[in-house]
């Protein structure tokens, strides 16, 4: 595979050094003195995939609790201190990890390390019922705002539920269900912390205008005494057959502004050369304003308002390629679907032209330049490759691997994976508000039916 390169000077002459504390905390340092800022990024190897039935959303709700104080940090002190120091900060939760990050003026770096160490080592000293109740309500409003009160807002959740079958660790998305969020107890949160938030289950990356020796000293001082936890459970196995084996399909009657065709394909795991080839295939088909699908559906046929493909790279389960087409005017979905199928089959039958591959590679190279162009972006990518693949240096060579893929490899992955029997299709059919009372039940039964079909398909 194309990922054996280590310690190579990557794009932009960027380098990083790796260290490990006695308690297992992995540390990655990368110097960049162009701007007096320093990014701190901490990835914990825990995400939604570690959640169990009945407790979906726990990893993300827990991420919120990490901002509610620890032994030496009162209440909202984490936010107040970082922002008061001129820093910016946040945390996010995905299937495979939870991350926390601060970007600080360089002279405030030590504060960020002190804060992260305090909550890694002593969160439970401050965690209480009041915080849990409050952040549960906040997260439920986050769910409403980002998914439930937005047209097509639950599409992603529906597609992952189809592509990753019942019982699979990626069957549910990080936001979780309202019922499960309601069910979380303080004991759940405490147990989750004990099981996952240990220095040996984390990678800390610090990038920017830093003195590496001094920074290592601070990390040793603040994090070094936090005990490791030997019983961190590895994530459940997410292996699935390469191909779903049949087309899964769900039609949704909802109050949306336009018909939509969405589809999710099972694609190769992140970290493989085939995954890079798949990303290029999706880019040829559906990235930018001159992709095959954009040219066909939006420019020529004029059947779509937008048409694009996205890739969710996953390391512990098949990656997910996501097609999103919004229909123009009165266009019917079968007409769009036939065109999509034709374009996908054409890419599987015949390799893209050199110009098409060049375009796709240039767009992806540009994305990498953007990602690595900020200290925070670089810290995040270093953590990502360290947590998921054990080697942060891969962040600097990722773009080289994409540029190494050939047109034939793009064709091959399209032929193998972008097939009707390897996708979950969502069709949105708009209804007016007067009709909606009747659709809630209709949706529920459609989802149930699809679960069964999906089970049968395995």
């Amino acid at each position: 595979m194309g990922q054996a390169v280590t310690q190579q000077t990557g794009s932009g002459g960027r380098t990083a050094t790796e260290h490990r504390l006695d308690n297992g905390l992995r540390l990655v340092l990368s110097e960049d003195h162009l701007t007096p800022v320093a990014a701190v990024c901490l990835w914990y190897g825990v995400g939604a995939r570690q959640e169990v039935k009945g407790r979906t959303g726990l990893a993300h709700l827990f991420e919120h609790l990490m901002f509610q104080g620890s032994a030496q940090v009162k209440g909202n002190g984490h936010f107040e201190l970082v922002q008061g120091a001129g820093g910016s900060l946040n945390g996010t939760t995905s299937f495979e990890r939870t991350n926390y990050f601060e970007t600080m003026p360089a002279h405030q770096l030590e504060l960020a390390l002190w804060l992260e160490a305090d909550r890694m080592g002593s969160l439970l000293a401050a965690l209480g019922e009041e915080s849990l109740q409050n952040q549960r309500d906040v997260v439920k409003n986050e769910r409403r705002q980002r998914y439930d009160n937005v047209p097509y807002g639950t599409a992603f959740e529906r597609m992952t539920a189809l592509v990753y079958p019942e019982g699979h660790p990626y069957h549910h998305t990080p936001i979780g269900s309202m019922a499960d969020l309601d069910a979380v107890t303080l004991d759940d949160a405490r147990a989750f912390f004990r099981a996952n938030y240990a220095p040996n289950n984390a990678v800390l990356a610090i990038v920017g205008d830093i003195d590496p020796e001094q920074t290592r000293g601070w990390v040793e001082k603040y994090f070094g005494s936090i005990p490791s936890y030997d019983a961190v459970a590895p994530p459940r196995d997410g292996t699935l057959p390469d191909i779903i084996g049949e087309e899964l399909r769900e039609e949704i009657q909802e109050e949306v502004p336009a018909r939509a065709l969405m589809a999710a394909y099972r694609l190769p795991h992140d970290g493989t050369r085939e995954c890079d080839a798949a990303e290029l295939a999706l880019s040829v088909l559906g990235d930018g304003m001159s992709s095959r699908l954009y040219n066909r559906l939006v420019r020529r046929d004029r059947t779509a308002i937008t048409a694009g493909f996205g890739l969710l790279r996953l390391a512990g389960a098949p990656s997910l390629g996501w097609l999103d087409v919004k229909a123009s005017g009165g266009t019917e979905i079968p007409q769009i679907e036939a065109a999509v199928d034709e374009e996908l089959a054409r890419l599987g039958a015949e390799a893209p032209t050199a110009e098409e591959l060049e375009r796709a590679q240039a767009l992806l190279e540009r994305e990498w330049l953007d990602r690595l162009g900020t200290v925070a972006g670089r810290a995040d990518k270093l953590c990502r490759y360290a947590v998921l693949f054990g080697d942060p240096q891969l962040a600097f060579t990722a773009v080289n691997r994409i540029l190494d893929v050939t047109t034939e490899e793009v064709r091959a992955v399209a032929a193998a994976r972008l097939r009707p029997d390897n996708r979950a299709v969502l069709v949105y059919e708009p209804v007016t508000s007067e009709d909606t009372a009747g659709t809630a039940a209709g949706q529920a039964s459609a989802a149930g039916q699809n679960d069964k079909r999906e089970g049968a398909g395995r």
């Binding site: 932009g12 960049d32 701007t35 800022v37 030496q72 107040e80 922002q83 008061g84 120091a85 001129g86 820093g87 970007t103 600080m104 003026p105 360089a106 002279h107 405030q108 770096l109 030590e110 504060l111 002190w114 160490a117 080592g121 000293a125 965690l127 409050n134 952040q135 549960r136 309500d137 906040v138 439920k140 409003n141 986050e142 409403r144 705002q145 980002r146 439930d148 009160n149 047209p151 405490r190 001082k221 005494s225 005990p227 502004p257 336009a258 304003m289 001159s290 420019r299 004029r302 308002i305 919004k326 123009s328 005017g329 240039a362 767009l363 540009r366 330049l369 162009g373 508000s433 909606t436």
Partner: protein, 467 residues
């Protein structure tokens, strides 16, 4: 309390180190022979160069009944030129790893290019082609019009966008362009055709009234030569800047519910208008607004989110709408939208509004604290080097300054002004900006659930309109 048993070593909170100097970059201002103003700024390490082209085509310049033609025109610049079809143009640009965006707004239109520096010359050549020789093919204009017509319901489905449309409609007189959607309505967009687009372009797009902002790592780039061979070839006549009618708004306290039966949340947008950045009180307004609703530890979220859990977050902000260069005689005559925005779960709508008004009343009665002011200054000034790490963020601010007729060192000076602004001034500015009895409230939500509780809050007449 076994949970509290902590075995790590604790240390006192560290003091900060010595701050390193940082200043918002000063651009170098110049002009090409064709009259195009150029602001350039070298940012070491920023391999993706950001180019912003400011065009003097404020939405007020749109012909009557053709709202949205400015948006179609700037989008159409890249949909076919004398040398490339629309498809070819997009493919050429993307083979450079470039992205091109455009938008038309009350202050003017902007075309934004971002491209790796290694392909800057090629991409600038394409940009020059789009600006100087757009073909405006009838079929492409038709496509853009239809795409826009399709896009309107998609946008209005978003509660935030729907609220913004309603607030503009409520605040501004119907005759003012600002009362109507930036990208037009179904009626006006449907009337846009290729001839009209060309006429609008010919009337308002020319190098003499445009500015190019170029920011990035320009090491080894002969930018003068590159510009001469690209944007320098764009030709055109001269024109006077367009006059800007002053903005007026009706901020009589009232509530409009945009009915969305079954909505699980209510989108709030509460606002009025205030001054633009030329106003001497602007730094105080920025500071006070941050204290009110800049982050989750600001006054609004401290109650609505972190105490009550009604919301994922509520923010207070200002957005400049009108910013003419002030004449010495009449001072600043611009305008900005001052607003509070966020969403709350349907059942909490009444209590959330009660609390929101309580926060405003408390602020007016007691003012900001010194600590609050200090932290706000430390944040607003301290985050500057983070905010302006990328070329794109620097280019955006420089282009905003151009559009708003501000000096090139406006942002650099703003940090000094913020640091000088005291608690009393910041309090005065934010209290004047958000008076509890002069705010228009837009609520996008389920009227059957929220109307009665909202009436009980007592912030003015409550009207319900269709969603």
């Amino acid at each position: 309390m076994t949970d509290a048993a902590v075995t790590m070593d604790f240390y006192p909170m560290p003091a900060s180190g010595q701050a390193k100097p940082w200043a918002f970059p000063a651009p170098e201002r110049g002009a090409l022979a064709n009259g195009l103003t150029v602001l350039r700024c070298h940012r070491p390490g920023q391999q993706v160069v950001a180019v912003g082209i400011c065009l003097d085509t404020p939405l007020d310049a749109e012909p009557d009944g053709l709202d949205g033609i400015a948006t179609i025109m700037v989008r159409a610049l890249s949909q076919g030129t004398g040398q490339h079809t629309a498809e070819e143009f997009a493919a050429e640009l993307e083979r450079c790893g470039a992205t091109l965006g455009s938008r038309a707004d009350y202050l003017g239109a902007r075309v934004s290019l971002e491209v790796p520096v290694s392909r800057l010359s090629k991409a600038l050549g394409l940009l020059a082609e789009a600006l100087s020789a757009p073909a405006f093919p009838g079929s492409e204009i038709e496509r853009l019009v239809r795409n826009r017509l399709d896009g309107i319901p998609l946008e209005l489905a978003s509660p935030g966008r729907r609220a913004a449309k309603q607030l503009a409609h409520e605040l501004f007189p119907a005759s003012a362009r600002m009362s109507r959607p930036r990208k037009g309505t179904e009626d006006t967009v449907a009337r846009v055709g290729a001839a009209g687009v060309r006429a609008f372009y010919e009337a308002h797009v020319r190098p003499a009234t445009a500015t190019a902002v170029v920011v990035g790592d320009l090491t080894g780039v002969d930018l003068d030569a590159v510009l001469a061979g690209t944007l320098g070839r764009w030709t055109g006549d001269t024109a006077e800047p367009l006059p800007m009618p002053p903005a007026t708004a009706d901020d009589t306290s009232r509530v409009v519910i945009v009915d969305r039966p079954g909505a699980v949340q209510t989108q709030l947008l509460i606002g009025r208008i205030g001054p633009d950045r030329h106003d001497r009180a602007w730094p105080a307004l920025v500071l006070g607004t941050y204290c009110l609703g800049g982050t989750l530890t600001s006054r609004l979220d401290r109650v609505l989110r972190e105490e009550k859990g009604y919301t994922y977050g509520v923010r207070a902000f200002e957005q400049v709408l009108r910013s003419p260069a002030p004449h010495a005689a009449d001072g600043a005559t611009g305008a900005s939208l001052l607003a509070i925005s966020g969403s709350v779960d349907t059942a909490s709508t009444g209590p959330a509004l009660d609390d929101l008004w309580m926060v405003l009343r408390t602020l007016a009665a007691e003012g900001l604290t010194e600590t609050e002011r200090d932290k706000a200054v430390q944040n607003l000034v301290g985050v500057a080097p983070l905010e302006y790490e990328t070329a794109a963020s620097v280019a955006r601010t420089l282009a905003d300054q151009v559009e708003q007729h501000l000096a090139d060192d406006y942002q650099a000076q703003l940090y000094a002004r913020l640091a000088e602004t005291g608690t009393v001034e910041a309090t005065a500015a934010v209290v004047a900006a958000f008076p509890g009895n002069r705010l228009v409230t837009i609520l996008v939500g389920d009227a059957s659930q929220i109307k009665a509780p909202v009436q009980a809050v007592g912030t003015g007449d409550v009207k319900v309109v269709a969603g």
